[in-house]
């Protein structure tokens, strides 16, 4: 099954987006967005994976040892931390939306305010 990791990435993206579209709670929607985003980590890392390759760290193993692609590792690394802070920004928006509308359900925004 050499296609499986790519399939997982596609599945995570679509299932995360489905969650965002059908969500009735902003916090839930933000978590679904994180799920969709995590598909990028899987896709990046599986593109750079080489069977039998070690981590691209040549402290204990000599240079020339078969290793996976370090470029996608670097991309995924910054992606994870930046993704976490962007989630925090969205959650802050959700806090203010709740204060303003008294609900986290986007369907009810602007409908039954006091």
């Amino acid at each position: 099954m050499s296609f499986l990791p790519y399939g997982v990435a596609a599945w995570l993206l679509l299932v995360g987006l489905y969650g965002v579209v059908t969500s009735r709670n902003l916090v839930h929607a933000i978590i679904c967005l994180s799920v969709a985003q995590s598909s990028t980590y899987i896709l990046l890392l599986s593109v750079g994976f080489e069977r039998g390759g070690t981590a691209p760290i040549f402290l204990d193993v000599p240079v020339g040892t078969k290793a996976v692609d370090p470029v996608v590792g670097a991309l995924a690394l910054t992606d994870v931390v930046v993704g976490a802070t962007v989630s925090a920004l969205l959650l802050a928006l959700a806090v203010q939306a709740y204060k303003h509308h008294g609900t986290l359900d986007p369907e009810r925004f602007g409908r039954d305010q006091d």
Binding site: S46, R51, V63, P70, T78
Partner: protein, 254 residues
């Protein structure tokens, strides 16, 4: 648009996107047979060129240094955005943090959590610093180490109270750490210009691979990123805690 209609529209769009995704992904090389040239080239030359044994760090903070600077500023902007969004609004008041407020019925922290939390603070700080300063040698670096350092502040909150968290990480310190980290990255980049090379060029002495003081500008950049990430995450943490513990809506029971 009703939820049912929206779901139907999404399912049609998702089916189309799914077909496109599968079509595109089947064109990729088989999983496990990496075909791109860059990974192989970097794995061959990075240790000799940059004296960093962690090639991922060499890519992140040197070969791709300017992109990482951009990502660091996304992080900076996101934390800034949270701080702006979660400041006390015009009609809100800030009160002294009262953990036992009548409207907060959080269960009391158990002694086991307090003891384990406190016992973990020291080792977690040490581990975070270890990850930051060894970023160019072993897995780790400023991003990972910074997050681990921020966890120590969370442990202080878990095992103590909000006021304890603020005492060990006052806002002036976290703000300073975050800004100094963000500015430090650019300052190290300007070093390259000052030495007559390109922005972010690795102009410091490279040393020998595997030594703590090696890899030129990579460890200082790791340090700057570690400061920024740790400061930023502690700031995020205290902004959200402030929402429940300090800021009150008009008419809210305190």
């Amino acid at each position: 648009m009703t939820p049912a209609l929206r779901r139907r529209v999404f399912l049609i769009a998702a089916a189309a996107a799914g077909v496109l995704l599968v079509w595109g992904l089947t064109g990729l090389p088989d999983y496990g047979t990496y075909a791109g040239p860059y990974g192989h080239v970097l794995n061959q030359v990075a240790v000799a060129e940059r004296k960093a044994t962690n090639v991922v760090a060499a890519v992140t903070f040197d070969y791709r240094g300017i992109d990482t600077m951009g990502e660091e500023y996304i992080l900076f902007a996101a934390v800034l955005g949270v701080a702006i969004l979660l400041r006390a609004q015009r009609d809100e008041t800030e009160q002294a943090p009262d953990e036992d407020a009548a409207d907060r019925n959080a269960p009391a922290t158990s002694n086991a959590v307090r003891v384990i939390g406190l016992a973990l603070v020291g080792p977690v700080v040490l581990f975070g610093l270890y990850l930051v300063v060894h970023g160019h040698l072993t897995p780790g670096g400023g991003f990972q180490g910074g997050v681990v350092l921020a966890t120590a502040a969370l442990l202080v909150y878990l095992s103590g109270e909000y006021v304890t968290l603020r005492r060990v990480s006052p806002e002036s310190v976290t703000d300073l750490a975050e800004s100094a980290g963000a500015a430090g990255y650019v300052a190290i980049g300007l070093l390259g210009l000052a030495a007559g090379a390109a922005f972010l060029a690795n102009v410091l002495p490279l040393g020998h691979p595997g030594a703590l003081l090696s890899a030129g500008t990579i460890p200082p950049i790791n340090l700057a990123v570690g400061l920024e990430v740790a400061g930023g995450f502690v700031l995020l943490l205290s902004e959200f805690l402030e929402q429940t513990l300090v800021i009150r809506r008009p008419g809210e029971v305190t």
